[in-house]
Amino acid sequence: MFEYLITNYNYMVVVFLMMMGLWAMIAKKNLVKKCIGLVIFQTGIILFYISMGAKNNSTIPIIDPKYGEAAINYANPLTQILMLTAIVVGVATLGVGLMLVQRIYKEYGSINEDRILEKFK
């Protein structure tokens, strides 16, 4: 049991973070909080990918004669590249989201979802 907890602790944290983010995206009424939830969800996924690429007793993926040529000595580069992309995509989405929040505030004077819906009526 304890062994299982250690070897899978990352993944549990990942699930926890993602669900926290998802909950904030659905249930929170404040638009900025929704954005925070979005980023937490994304970082959860990034953590998931990075943890699957980690190796015990390995170093960073820069080939160095000091550590030898064998692939087992280096952490997985592929997941890292995928997640570099995901981070940049995430910040771009966040920027667009925050821009929309600012525009909405300018037009409706509130960033609370309920209040904005009230103004429509």
């Binding site: 994304q42 996924i45 990918y49 989201g97 929309l100 525009r103």
Partner: protein, 499 residues
């Protein structure tokens, strides 16, 4: 050159989309012709790819290795007879929309037109890329390109578009994240992102829970993106409030491409064996899509606003396709695949016609359509062709896709799906005949017709570059219908494996 067509499909709109912000500082009037030229270039590349493909054996595909790195290590582009059809649909729809959109964009957007065109082309790039790519992660990046541009395009719209866009952004990112998560669950078990290799490796892992979760999340992500019924809440507002040109482009394409991705994953990444035999959730999903069809149709019936009504029809159409695929019978899958193309043109036809109406009349409320047939005969005839296709009246393609869907449902015993299809056809008939009634006789059903005011209306058609694409689309609808058999035997028959 001959072997480079696959990548050229994407490169034309990409380069022009990037160049437009620079060019617009010097000369704004060349932007529109340039956009059309790039799409024609892309069309030419698609056409050449298709001719190459048709010379080959029906079940084979053409691959293109970007950066000349072999498949699992680099990114691969694949074209087979399934996605060549979707590619044709995308490029035709976007070309026609661009020709159509010139006046509308100038009228609605003014100074932002140049940036709008840039986003427009990059959106098309994203969709084309999603359709061609053979790499699961590359698909995510392109999906994000398409999504981000569509947020921009919708937010440029009027009124409450900002709030609608924000909802769409939250839902859309959720969908993309689900997709990425699903790919991660597959990746951790297989260690590869290439779809062909996944197809080879996955049969060994069919009893793994991680693969199940991966499958569920990929499908769930795509459902969010395509606005499948319980997750549809973002779609109606976003599409009805977007600028006309953006709505004409997005409503036919974005949802259909998501359906394409779903079918792609079901047939070519997981196999039909996994989807229909190992998992036993067909019936639930067919019931869900039946509910989606009926709910979408009823919502559509309750709208007083033309565009909003059409957006709910899209929600119902999504139900057709999802249900058709999940019936698990060959005919249903074929019908759904055929319906992707058919529905892209149908939706385009309807949205363009509504765009024309809004351009002349000023709004899209049902009451303001009185006497519209006399005022804009060409537009309304095309609108009716689109409407007939949605209802499913024989010479149009909508009839044939529905025929295949019903046959698939019949053979797999999903009677509730057949009932839902018939009810939705009836409701669609009511919807469109109501419009005919208002347009011809100028009355909502409970008023007395007012003939005098109708006689004062004069012929006032939209400019030629607006009605010509519309006519072409309605011709395409009929041609697709007439040549259904050829399309079935040449393209769709070989994609779907016999079960």
């Amino acid at each position: 050159m001959a072997d480079q067509f696959l990548v050229l499909i994407v490169l034309f709109p990409l380069f022009v989309g990037l160049l437009i912000p620079i060019i617009a500082y010097f000369n704004k009037s060349v932007v529109w012709p340039l956009a059309i030229l790039s799409l024609i270039g892309s069309f030419w590349a698609v056409f050449n790819t298709a001719t190459q493909l048709l010379k080959l054996d029906p079940s084979s595909s053409i691959s293109y290795y970007l950066g000349n790195w072999m498949a699992p290590f680099g990114i691969e582009y694949v074209v087979d007879r399934f996605n060549i059809m979707v590619l044709f649909a995308i490029i035709c729809v976007s070309l026609l929309t661009t020709i159509f959109a010139k006046q509308v964009i100038e009228k609605e957007l003014g100074d932002n037109a140049a940036n709008f065109y840039s986003l427009f082309l990059l959106f098309i790039t994203g969709l084309l890329g999603i359709t061609i790519t053979g790499d699961a992660f590359n698909l995510y990046v392109l999906l994000e390109i398409a999504s981000l541009t569509s947020y921009g395009l919708i937010a440029l719209g009027r009124g409450r578009a900002l709030v609608a866009t924000f909802n769409y952004l939250i839902m859309g990112s959720m969908g993309a994240c689900f997709y990425l998560l699903g790919v991660g669950y597959l990746f951790i078990k297989t260690g590869t992102l290439n779809m062909d290799q996944l197809y080879d490796v996955l049969p060994l892992l069919f009893d793994s829970k991680a693969v199940l979760v991966g499958f569920v999340f990929i499908i769930l992500g795509m459902w969010v993106k395509m606005a499948f019924f319980p997750l549809h809440s973002w779609l109606p507002n976003a599409y009805s409030l977007a600028p006309t040109a953006a709505a004409c482009l997005m409503a036919p394409l974005m949802t259909k491409v998501s359906v394409y991705v779903m079918i792609r994953f079901m047939l070519n990444v997981f196999s039909t064996e996994y989807v229909y035999s190992v998992l036993t959730i067909n019936n639930i999903i067919v019931i869900m899509s039946s509910i989606a069809i009926i709910a979408g149709s009823i919502y559509a019936l309750s709208q007083k606003n033309l565009k909003k009504m059409l957006t709910f029809i899209i929600v119902a159409e999504i139900g057709y396709m999802v249900g058709g695929v999940w019936t698990g019978h060959v005919d249903g899958i074929r019908g759904a695949i055929y319906h992707i193309t058919a529905d892209a043109f149908m939706t385009l036809c309807l949205f363009m016609a509504v765009g024309c109406i809004v351009y002349r009349v000023g709004n899209d409320k049902l009451e303001s359509l009185k006497g519209i047939f006399k005022k804009m005969p060409i537009t309304m005839i095309c609108f009716l062709v689109g409407g007939f296709s949605v209802i499913g009246i024989p010479p149009t393609c909508g009839f044939f896709s529905k025929w295949y869907l019903i046959s698939g449902a019949f053979n797999s015993g999903a009677w509730y799906f057949i009932i839902a299809l018939i009810i939705s056809s009836l409701i669609n008939a009511v919807l469109f005949f109501r419009i005919i009634e208002i347009g011809f006789f100028g009355a909502m059903s409970n008023e007395k017709p007012d003939y005098k005011s109708l006689q004062s209306i004069k012929f006032n058609e939209v400019p030629i570059n607006m009605w010509l694409p519309l006519v072409i689309v309605s011709m395409i609808l009929i041609i697709l219908g007439i040549y259904t058999n050829e399309i079935m035997t040449n393209f769709i028959l070989n994609i779907v494996p016999m079960m």
